[in-house]
């Protein structure tokens, strides 16, 4: 039975997202240029939540998309084929500031794949990265612009993010 401890509860997640939303607003003066793109499966719900928070801050709707990155992964022949999820990009990314949203930043390989996948849709002016949890162990020179919480982990531990009926982030040890 793996040992599990709560890293962030629902209140802490709400607070972290509110802070990230304000940091995104502070960093990007031209709010009309900003679009949010969630990386499925974990980043989708978070991107929608951040979209609502930023809409309240900026007083105008903030477009939210969803970008599946599995066709751009660099480990496709090393693991079982990933589940491919729908990509929905209901806006032109050319000239936009795209904020990629993911739940956990780990090796950085998903983020790299996301940047490649995004290029197929155009040339954004800037790409920024927002994550709820940064757990370390980067394998690529990638750094998040907005982080909900830094969590030191061992490589074989698991971070589980649940967003929905009960928001919760847990750390599972073997």
């Amino acid at each position: 039975m793996p040992e599990s401890s709560v890293i962030l509860d629902a209140t802490a997640i709400s607070r972290a997202l509110a802070r990230i939303a304000h940091e995104i607003a502070e960093r990007n003066e031209n709010s009309a240029e900003v679009v949010l793109v969630g990386i499925p499966a974990g980043g989708d719900a978070l991107a929608l939540r951040l979209g609502k928070l930023l809409t309240d801050i900026w007083k105008h709707p903030v477009p939210v998309g969803s970008l599946d990155v599995s066709m751009h992964r660099d480990d496709l022949d090393r693991r079982a084929a990933p589940n491919v999820r729908p990509t929905v990009m209901p806006f032109d990314v050319n000239g936009k500031t795209v904020v990629l949203v993911d739940d956990v930043l780990f090796s950085g390989r998903t983020t790299r794949a996301a940047m490649d996948a995004l290029n197929d849709f155009g040339r954004p002016k800037k790409i920024q990265l927002a994550v709820l949890v940064d757990r370390g162990h980067r394998e690529l020179p990638i750094k998040a612009d907005f982080v909900g919480k830094n969590v030191p982990t061992a490589p074989d531990e698991k971070i589980r993010v649940r967003i929905g009926e009960k928001d919760e982030v847990t750390l599972e040890r073997k």
Binding site: L76, D77, A80, A81, D116
Partner: protein, 312 residues
């Protein structure tokens, strides 16, 4: 859903869950085909050999475009211009392809079981693009994909396959796929081309075309294969058209939302009226579009390695 299959040899050995995994994956690849940039790097650096020992145009073109859209390197190998003419065996050809480090071999062959033989012999991933009268798995996958997309489900639908079924690998693969996904399958055609033995697979067999079409949600027409000559099987094309061809009078007696499919190439005026082939109930060209997405999905899934899926 997790995919741990090395080769796609037939539908018979797939589970319903595996079929659904292909269909779900294909949905994402269909969306890729609707973008400005229709290419993804999933098979970058992989070599695919299209080994078409039996001639084919549409299946080969579909596979070739699917491979190109996945960024694979491609070698096309056809019966007419190959060493088969010089007497090389399939095994020797295959070993030569393996020596070139081919990662995938897409094979069409007139002998049933040729892809299975290659799968036993080679390390490369094998995709059956049609073997004799046995199976044509990607055709069945694109057909059930098309049905699911238009009807929202497969389970409980009545599907009638009409025509030259005896030697049809398309029919065999479709029967397997449809039955595994819960459809009720009816077969109809001249009794010489639709033997009762198909009832053993769980299908209904009838020689009364009106009865076969009455409850159908999907009418799947098969071409009379002139090239595999049927002179002894039925009196003539004219009589076939009269007895089994889909015309306006027959279509009027079907369910108003019944949809028409055909694997192509169609013979206008033989198994299908020209007007019907072009009507809004015909899915024939959607099948072609979906075939591309399904073949991309199959290549993508087979490219996966062993072990668990990546998360995070």
């Amino acid at each position: 859903m997790s995919w741990n299959i090395k080769d796609l040899l037939d539908i018979e050995s797939l589970t319903a869950e595996e079929i659904v995994t292909v269909l779900d994956t294909a949905r994402a690849f269909k969306a890729v085909g609707e973008r400005a940039i229709k290419k993804v790097p999933a098979l970058r650096g992989k070599t695919v050999v299209n080994l078409f020992v039996e001639p084919s145009t549409r299946t080969r073109i579909s596979f070739e475009l699917a491979e190109q859209r996945l960024s694979a390197d491609i070698i096309n190998f056809s019966a007419e211009a190959s060493s088969f003419k010089k007497g090389e065996t399939l095994k020797d050809t295959a070993l030569n392809l393996q020596a070139l480090n081919a990662d995938f071999i897409v094979i069409r062959h007139s002998a049933s079981g040729a892809p299975h033989f290659l799968a036993r012999t080679l390390a490369a991933r094998i995709i059956n693009a049609g073997d004799g009268a046995h199976e044509h798995p990607t055709q069945a996958l694109l057909d059930v994909f098309t049905i699911r997309e238009r009807k929202g489900k497969i389970d409980g639908l009545n599907v009638t396959i009409l025509g030259d079924i005896l030697y049809s690998r398309v029919a065999r693969s479709n029967i397997w796929a449809l039955m595994k996904l819960g459809a009720k399958v009816t077969l109809c055609g001249p009794s010489t081309l639709v033997p009762k033995t198909f009832e053993q697979m769980g299908c209904r067999v009838t020689y009364n075309v009106d009865e076969a079409l009455r409850d159908a949600d999907i009418i799947h027409l098969l071409r009379i294969q002139h090239e595999r000559q049927r002179k002894t099987m039925f009196p003539g094309i004219g009589e076939y058209t009269q007895l089994f061809g889909l015309n306006k009078a027959r279509l009027a007696k079907t369910k108003p939302d019944a949809l028409i499919m055909h694997p192509g190439p169609i013979n206008r005026g033989v198994e299908i009226d020209s007007d019907i082939a072009d009507c809004e109930r015909s899915l024939i060209l959607e099948q072609v579009t979906n075939g591309l997405a399904v073949r991309m999905a199959v290549l993508f899934l087979l490219n996966g390695g062993k072990g668990p899926q990546e998360v995070g």
